[in-house]
């Protein structure tokens, strides 16, 4: 009874957000603080009256930025209903209105007034010139915006949405807002940029002239010339997708369906490329197969043939990408290949199918979702890959590098970059869609509640021989490539002076002990610490956003859930290059002005890697019986408590996967990063690619080797911190809590 009474008149969440809103308005600096998000210099630097650091209330009090004043009304409105019951219709209406009006006004003034007064001509026409301006939003605006959002969701919940569950409604609202802000808004902004003329107007003709460009769609390669970048990218991505899928399947079969003894070693080998900065493989390939590469020289002398530059162009990029992305396909396929129910295969064999027939007609079709996923991943990764084409591409232009040079080249054409990015996005989204079509609505479920004690049959011999040969060749190749990488980092000057030295490590990571403490004098330290800090900040945030989204998708039903799922998975199909370009376009100007900060890097990683967290969360949550939640709810816990105390502890493997993946990706990603790094926040990968362009292969490789070791250590550390999977404890937990 007491609980009921409490709930009817006291609303802790409501009061919290009302207070938060007022704190944001009265106390925190409204605009972005220049020294960085976590610098608190403003506290002693003229706060609260200095215009740069003043909270909104002080600005209005001094007669500045008066367009913020209307926000007072929706901030005050919720006080009307604090004493009312949730079931009171007024309660819901006031909160919904206050939240919507406040949030709407905040956005409208943010977009309407920029650093040069009104942003839209019609506003100037209407109100005359505005002799004031505003910069990007800061803490104050952020907190006030959140307050409005959550007031709104509480109003919605009070109206009875999702059984009046405030946590779930707020979570849905929160995810929708951040995905809209950081995925849809930048993409939309980028699409617009493709139509902007040099004078700043909009014109479809501009788009057409950039879109129907011979450098993009030319088919000259059939006549001895060069093909357009779009065709090159598409062709390459399809090839890489197919090759990585086939190789990934080969490894999955070796690990699950053969008597191969060194499965652990094989698994370790396949993990290696994932934690390797992407272009390192390209470098190793040059050292092996380039015009003066060791292998090339060896064969040239052996057979007396003229060495060629065959590596530079399509073949080199294809090899490097296949090496780099096969492990991703393997990781996708291993689960699927293991998941195919042995009983079905045994049933086929009982019906007198031989091993080959069983494989072809039962096992393989059941692996279709895995194959499709693996292909899609390879396709998208290849489309987005930036490092390998840059190092090995020669004159083989692909979209990702063309986008980069449209932005940084002397011609400096953001519109062209946007058009190219649209083509890239069109390809990946089509692949995404085609994959869904191909899988159709058929059921591939083979794991049911019933026990399955069967054992996977071995591969048919006709398959085993080529599979083993392929796996063996690939394995050897990987070992050689990584051997080269290690060797390359300790030789003086590759190919000229092969004496051993640690000088590259010293250049990169030297330290000097002085009176004032350690001085990090090595060339690589700045970018190294930034990378660690960004990766460490992004990983837990990615996991949180991913898991909450997964929870909503698996455990809750609400209107528009399909659109919601599509929205959260969309950023997965958007290549990093596109993210990079769109973030520069969207976040270099108010209201959200974060280019050149560490925050933009963290955010780009969160939304790049979130889909993996979502997928991992969905996979493990579908394994948890819903009756667990129900019993927790029956015992009086609310959905937040259930999520935190029941679901979360059972999700350790998913948390680990999300943490590891986002940490590793944050350290090895280049495609989005290259656009977003700044003087203060330079990342390891962009630093390394600068070294590669400067012929400092030794330094680049030494740095990459160090990164590989650091990532291995970090992955191990995370494993210890998060703890291991203990599925056997499921029932115990459910009963205990």
């Amino acid at each position: 009874m007491r609980g009921d009474l409490n709930e009817s008149t006291a609303h802790p969440a409501l009061i919290f957000w009302i207070i938060a809103g007022w704190v944001g308005f009265l106390l925190l600096p409204w605009y972005g603080v220049e020294d960085g998000f976590l610098s608190f210099k403003w506290l002693v630097d003229g706060y609260p009256f200095d215009e740069d650091f003043a909270p909104a209330a002080f600005l209005i009090g001094q007669g500045e930025k008066l367009w913020l004043a209307p926000l007072l009304l929706p901030l005050a409105a919720p006080f009307l209903v604090v004493r009312r019951k949730k079931s009171d219709p007024l309660y819901a209406i006031v909160l919904i209105l206050a939240g919507a009006v406040g949030f709407g006004w905040l956005i409208a003034q943010g977009f309407g007034i920029g650093i040069r007064g009104y942003t839209f001509d019609w506003l100037t026409a209407l109100f005359g010139d505005l002799d004031d301006r505003q910069y990007g939003m800061g803490y104050g605006a952020l907190i006030v915006a959140s307050a409005f959002l959550f007031l709104f969701t509480q109003g919605i919940a009070a109206r009875g949405a999702i059984n009046g569950d405030v946590f779930v409604v707020s979570a849905i609202g929160g995810v929708i807002v951040i995905v809209t802000t950081f995925v849809f808004f930048p993409i939309a902004k980028m699409l617009l940029a493709a139509f902007i003329t040099e004078e700043g107007g909009y014109s479809a003709a501009v788009f057409a002239s950039k879109f129907f460009d011979d450098r993009l769609w030319g088919l000259g390669c059939f006549a001895g010339g060069r093909c357009g970048a779009a065709w090159n990218s598409l062709f390459l991505a399809i090839l890489v997708g197919v090759l990585t899928t086939v190789l990934g399947l080969v490894f999955a079969l070796v690990v699950t369906r053969s008597g191969f003894r060194y499965k652990r070693a094989l698994r370790a080998l396949t993990v290696l490329p994932i934690i390797t900065p992407p272009f390192v493989i390209g470098l190793a390939l040059i050292l092996l197969f380039g015009l003066s590469g060791s292998v090339t020289q060896f064969f040239a002398e052996l057979f007396g043939i003229q060495p060629t530059r065959w590596l530079y162009g399509m073949p080199g990029v294809l090899i490097a990408q296949t090496l780099a992305f096969t492990p991703i396909a393997f990781l996708v396929l291993i689960g699927v290949v293991e998941g195919v129910s042995p009983s079905m295969e045994e049933a086929a064999q009982t019906l007198r199918a031989n091993r080959w027939q069983t494989f072809r007609t039962v096992s393989l079709p059941l692996m279709r979702p895995g194959l499709a996923n693996a292909f899609l991943l390879g396709f998208i990764e290849s489309m987005a890959d930036f490092g390998n084409p840059l190092v090995l591409g020669g004159n083989f232009d692909v979209l990702s590098t063309e986008i980069f040079f449209a932005i940084v080249g002397a011609q400096y054409d953001q519109g062209r970059a946007a058009v190219l990015a649209m083509v890239l996005l069109f390809f990946t989204l089509s692949a995404f869609y085609a994959q869904r079509m191909w899988l159709g609505k058929k059921s591939y479920t083979t794991v049911s509640g019933k026990g399955d004690a069967g054992v996977h049959p071995l591969m048919p011999n006709g398959l085993a021989v080529p599979v083993f040969i392929a796996a063996g060749v690939w394995g050897m190749f990987t070992i050689i490539v990584y051997g080269m990488i290690l060797y390359g980092s300790v030789v003086e000057l590759w190919g000229v002076n092969n004496s051993l030295t640690f000088k590259h490590y010293i250049t990169a990571f030297s330290v000097r002990i002085e009176e004032s403490g350690i001085r990090w004098t090595g060339a690589a330290w700045d970018s190294f610490w930034t990378t660690i800090y960004i990766a460490a900040a992004a990983a837990p945030l990615t996991a949180i956003v991913g898991l909450i989204t997964a929870y909503l998708l698996t455990r809750q039903t609400f209107a528009g859930k399909n659109a919601f799922e599509f929205g959260t998975m969309l950023s997965f199909a958007i290549p990093g290059t596109v993210i990079g370009v769109s973030y520069i376009l969207a976040f270099n100007v108010p209201p959200i002005e974060i280019t050149g900060t560490g925050i933009i890097l963290i955010i780009s990683f969160i939304f790049r890697n979130m889909p993996v967290g979502v997928r991992a969360g969905i996979a493990s949550m579908s394994q948890l019986d819903k009756s667990l939640d129900e019993s927790s709810l029956t015992l009086g816990a609310n959905s937040w408590q259930t999520f935190r105390r029941v679901i979360l502890p059972l999700l350790r493997p998913a948390i680990l996967a999300a943490l590891v993946y986002s940490f590793v990706r944050a350290m090895t990603a280049i495609s989005a990063v290259i656009f977003l790094v700044s003087a203060e926040y330079d990342m390891a990968t962009s630093y390394i690619i600068g070294r590669v362009e400067n012929n400092d292969y030794g330094l680049a490789i030494a740095y990459s080797t160090t990164l590989i070791v650091v990532m291995l250590a970090a992955v191990g550390l995370l494993q210890i911190l998060v703890g291991r999977t203990k599925i056997g404890r499921r029932t115990q937990f459910g009963a205990g809590e």
Binding site: L38, R309, F405, A410, A679
Partner: protein, 341 residues
Amino acid sequence: MKKFKTLALTSVVAMTASMSAAQADKLTLYCSAQEDWCQLMARSFEDATGIDVNMTRKSSGETFAQIKAESANPKGDVWWGGTGDPHLQAAEENLTAAYMSPMRDQLHAWAISQAEGADNKTIGIYSGALGYGYNTDLLAANNLPEPTCWKDLLKPEYKGHVQMANPNSSGTAYTTLASMVQLLGEDEGFEFMKGLHANINQYTKSGSAPIKAAGRGENTIGIVFMHDAVKQAVSGFPIKVVAPCEGTGYEIGSMSIIEGARNIEEAQKFYDWALTPEAQNLALEVNAFQVPSNKGSETSPSAPDMSSITLIDYDFKKYGSSDERKRLLQKWDEDVSTLPQ
């Protein structure tokens, strides 16, 4: 869960710690010279003045793009190094600010004229002549004659052996294009580029990449600034440097203060310091063989002797302007780069 919280907490603490470290005077330096030189300049300036330097090294084209993108809200203070054209272009577009350094009377005339051509919004810090270098081992292995002039590079036997950067992405390559136009006249210059195109094996993205590839034995002849080629030779690669017989263009590596710089005082301090002989002599430590702009600075004995090279009268004002640049690049894109090889 507890452990998870601890992890999150630790990372927040780490973040706060690393952020609050930079509170002293600071300077954001955009550097377009080679990495080790940039590093050395940044660290030496820190040592000399105690001002914290945030340095990003990007090519001059990239830096120009960045400064332009940030023009509404500049993030950088000083742009040091890189070929002069983008600096001139930035001056023309008012992306950089005028400044009269007290060091000016110590500089060579060419450095001053660079400044005067741009309303004092930029200044020369070093100069270097265009040329090419070749890998002697590869040349011998392929039984090729030694080239000495620009027109030698058009000979069919060099097909697939010549590399240069793409003028769209590299200031060096744009200087090559502009030099040919000035040396031979526009029509002849483009005929030369077309002929060269037939022998080119790859247009690299960065300006000095062709000679680096030649050093590693991945390419035979690279068209670059001679000081870049000298550097490869001094590093131990089998590279021979050629000053083409017809004469050649040159660059004036420049420095500019960014318009609206947030740390303007520090920027001016850096500017003055970078023109001193002490700062310019740092080049020798990192094998940068450009000719420094201060008359009192030392020149390396390995550096190409500028007095023995025929230099054309390079019109920086005209060929550094964005209109001319855009026109030439577009013409190159349409008439040259699309030809079959």
